[in-house]
């Protein structure tokens, strides 16, 4: 499960920001996860709780899943990613490397593989709050 690898990245980035900002205690970390990533929320939450170091002991991680919206660069059509329309191995490939979506997904209107991921890709640290 690569949720663990991403959780490690979140912990490392949070620790780095907390150190730079001089936070002695981190209380809340808001994370936005793109739907294209197809993260298992429970695993990510568990990994974060297991990996957090002493300095982040009281930090609460709030995870928001962002719907994946795609826009065709050829015809301008916008649509939402639907995991259920993909077979299991394709969905898994996109889970590991979301850009692989360009390999398997095409614009439902004109068939072009040249589309933009408007939202719903990647893992982002939205905000960190704590005590200085």
């Amino acid at each position: 499960m690569h949720e663990w690898a991403l959780a490690e990245a979140v912990i490392a980035a949070t620790s780095e920001i907390a150190r730079k900002e001089g936070l002695i205690e981190v209380r809340e970390v808001k994370i936005r996860v793109g739907e294209l990533q197809q993260i298992e929320r429970d695993i990510l939450e568990f990994a974060l709780s297991q990996l957090k170091p002493f300095k982040l002991k009281s930090a609460k991680f709030i995870i928001e899943i962002v719907k994946a919206e795609l826009k065709c660069r050829a015809c301008g059509h916008k649509w939402f990613f639907k995991k259920e329309e993909l077979d299991e191995s394709t969905a898994e490939a996109i889970h590991f490397v979301p850009e692989i979506a360009h390999t398997y997904i095409k614009c439902p209107k004109c068939g072009s593989p040249d589309f933009e991921i408007l939202e719903g890709r990647g893992v982002w640290l939205e905000s960190i709050s704590g005590v200085k």
Binding site: H2, A9, V10, E16, I31, A93, V123, E126
Partner: protein, 253 residues
Amino acid sequence: MSDPRISIIDERMRGINRIIAVSSGKGGVGKSLVATTFALTLAKKGFSVGLFDLDFTSPSTHIILGIEDVQPKEEKGIVPPTVHGVEYMSIIYYSRDHVSPLRGADVSNALIELLSITKWGELDFLVIDMPPGIGDATLDLIRLIKNIEFIIVTTPSQLAFETVRKLASLLKELKITVLGVIENMKMNNSRTIKQQTTKLKVKLLEEIPYDPKVEKAIGNTNKLLTTILAKKVGNISLLDIQKPKKRQSATYI
């Protein structure tokens, strides 16, 4: 908002002694063959080696290695399988034999994703097969990987070397180590590339003659290791490569 994946890349690379990007200014100079053969010859010498195919839109090292039905393991990240003695990572595990039409930003994102989730073992060398030219992947690697070093492959053509000159100049300007240039597919005794590299103050690591046997060895690593290409690439390790310097370890909180 910040991308947390960037913060873990140093940690992922910490167990790797030297990271060598095999690059070229233009396509079609034999870069992937040189990169793959370089990784195989280092492994044959007893070094622990990884090979990472970063040519996302035109990956080919898997064909050179002749791999089929190999997949990375999932272990709190992705552990690359060992193929012919080399830890091997490529986007083809996910794109299979389909085309991956990626734009620049997508290339960057896929690169960051793979760098942040791939768990390499303790390696003496990680050889990276770069996409040709000075594009997003090159700029991202320079930005994200500390102490990356470059080998640039060219052919005797002045057209290929002109792009080498530009790439080498950029790397030198950015204070990135250029280990040297490999002249591949040499058809005669021309000294042009030797003179040009001297002028550029870059070492000419090897001159590899055109060897028709190489094409027939694609997909068969035992055969590939008997070619003149492998012999010449194997010679590279004499001065620059044999004493690995320890990469700076990254700060990880």
